[in-house]
């Protein structure tokens, strides 16, 4: 843990937890927001998954402090919280990149080019699966199916869609992310959010980006547009039938 500072938080917890350098501490605001999440549910424990997303929105991963906070607020043991946090793949156990780049290598995307994209990105970035570039910008991962098979091969950045990728487009994407140039998802907001910004949305605190981006991509519209060309419609509702 070289380069780590021992930080005592102001959360009334034992001062034993360490937060690596550069990771902001959880604050009283975090705790207030965690309590706000709890009020959404009939039973407090239902708030645990969004609370863990909230922790990630502040610290970029599920830290020991974050586990303690969730445990305290929900009356659980840290082991109970940890058991949940380690079950779900979106929770990170250590600090990772600002941009989480996932290449779908489930069967269909893999066959259509995802395997080659992932191979080339590993070479290009010099990291393997679940590893982060030294500058801390990019974590690379191969993904399971992300429900966009009609846009294969698919790459996700912080769970935004980058459709119909090639090795060249994917290399270009990560180059831009590393050099701080603006990029935007194919079906998503006008700008790429950071991992922490994205985590806040998953915690149930909406950003103002919902109305940005297309309503549907070309593949989504394939059937509708064909129906329109061919003049095909669903049967009219009874109250729409021409007499």
């Amino acid at each position: 843990m070289s380069g780590s500072d021992k930080i005592t938080t102001d959360l009334g917890m034992p001062g034993t937890a360490t937060v690596p350098a550069g990771v902001p501490p959880l604050t009283e605001q975090t705790r207030r927001e965690a309590r706000e999440i709890i009020t959404r549910y009939p039973q407090p424990r239902s708030a645990l998954l969004p609370m863990l997303h909230l922790v990630q929105s502040v610290q970029g991963y599920v830290s020991p402090d974050g586990i303690s906070l969730c445990a305290e607020e929900l009356g659980l043991t840290k082991a109970e919280v940890g058991a949940v946090a380690t079950f779900y793949t979106q929770y990170r156990r250590r600090p990772a990149g600002e941009y989480h780049v996932g290449v779908c290598t489930n069967t269909l995307c893999a066959v259509l080019g995802g395997d080659e994209i992932f191979r080339q990105l590993k070479d290009h970035l010099g990291v393997g699966h679940n590893e982060t570039t030294e500058d801390g910008t990019i974590s690379l991962e191969h993904l399971e199916c992300n429900a966009a098979c009609d846009y294969a091969p698919v790459v996700m950045v912080n769970w935004e869609f980058y459709d119909d990728q090639t090795p060249a487009s994917a290399r270009d994407l990560v180059d831009k992310l590393r050099s701080g140039q603006p990029v935007a998802p194919t079906r998503g907001p006008d700008r790429q959010c950071t991992f922490k910004e994205m985590s806040r949305v998953l915690a149930g605190f909406p950003d103002d980006l919902a109305t940005q981006g297309v309503q549907a991509g070309p593949a989504t519209l394939a059937g509708l547009q064909l129906a329109q060309q061919r003049g095909e419609t669903a049967p009219a509702y009874p109250d729409e039938e021409k007499s």
Partner: protein, 435 residues
Amino acid sequence: MLTPVLSRNWGDADSFTLAGYARHRGYEALPKALAMEPDALIQLVKDSGLRGRGGAGFPTGMKWGFIPQGPDGQGAKPHYLVVNADESEPGTCKDTPFMMANPHALIEGVIIASYAIRAKKAFIYIRGEIVHVTRRLQHAVAEAYQAGHLGTDIHGSGFDLDIVVHAGAGAYICGEETALLDSLEGYRGQPRLRPPFPATHGLYASPTVVNNVESIASVPSIVLGGAQWFGAQGTEKSKGYTLYSLSGHVKRPGQYEGPLGLTLRQLLELGGGMREGHELKFWTPGGSSTPLLTAEHLDVPLDYEGVAAAGSMLGTKALQCFDETTCVVRCVLRWTEFYAHESCGKCTPCREGTYWMVQILQRMENGNATEEDLVTLLDTCDNIFGRSFCALGDGATSPIVSGVQLFRQEFMDHINGTGCPFDPVASTVFAGAHA
């Protein structure tokens, strides 16, 4: 052949807004439903013949009818509606684009369904890995509150409803309804023993309906059109319209909405056919858990009965089409790796079986397998199928058993030769292009 209902407004740039939905008769079903008796709504959905679009095809109205009502016993507990928006089955990509383009159709369906089963709280459990769809749902729920479609005493009906959009955190198993409920309660997403079923002991051990996105989103159209209108579409036992998701080596992959019972031949024609110069080798009718089919099955009607009669399952209508450049062993290996990765670990057959099947299939793909390995592989499937705690284990055996049945020689070629004889570059979309 194409009958856009759920997708009818997707072409409008503001289709995901309340205004964009309202232009296409959005929220017109709601006052009509609120003027009906809840039991009459359940009967309407039963009469329509709507069956669950999440894969299993269970009659939606019947599920609603199982919810105990009245002042005693389980009926006295709060009732819940939980929408399964955890779309993760490999190949399945219908609910995600639907919710991105038309979230209000889902919201209107949730309100009507909640009213019918007498739930005052509904949850949309959305997969955590599709953040823009989460945004669109959050936005739609906020708009619906502003319009008075949600909250207390909705449109003077005396009916109260709150919707919570709840993001998961990455676990395929949470698409299984009881695992989803455990996850929504803040636990590891592991399936529960049934009975008791969610209808009586679901979320917080209270009466709960868990429905797929597309099922719930179909409800407003049934209220507007009536059971006969809905039932006149589709086939005798598989009524209504649905979203077919065409993907893979086809010219125009995408979403095609039409009546149940279309065939892959018809859908491939709509999608422009297989890519130039190539032919269909194998396909899945409804995701990777549904046994593989081949060109022999091009005329199988894609409804619950037709696909079952062909030895597979309709599933989610995720039509993944692979051409002759594709190695079936590679595909089966990759799907098996998926199931091994996603096995929740609760039961031994699935947890251990999927792990060992990956080892065997890797040996095959690398050219280090023996004929005995093939026997062991199928034997392991026998020990998983029907012996696992939930359908994930059964699903894991589908690609293997069907793959070997249909392409035994190709498996043997991997064993007797020097591993995979296919060139993976040939099956990419950028094959031949400078990438």
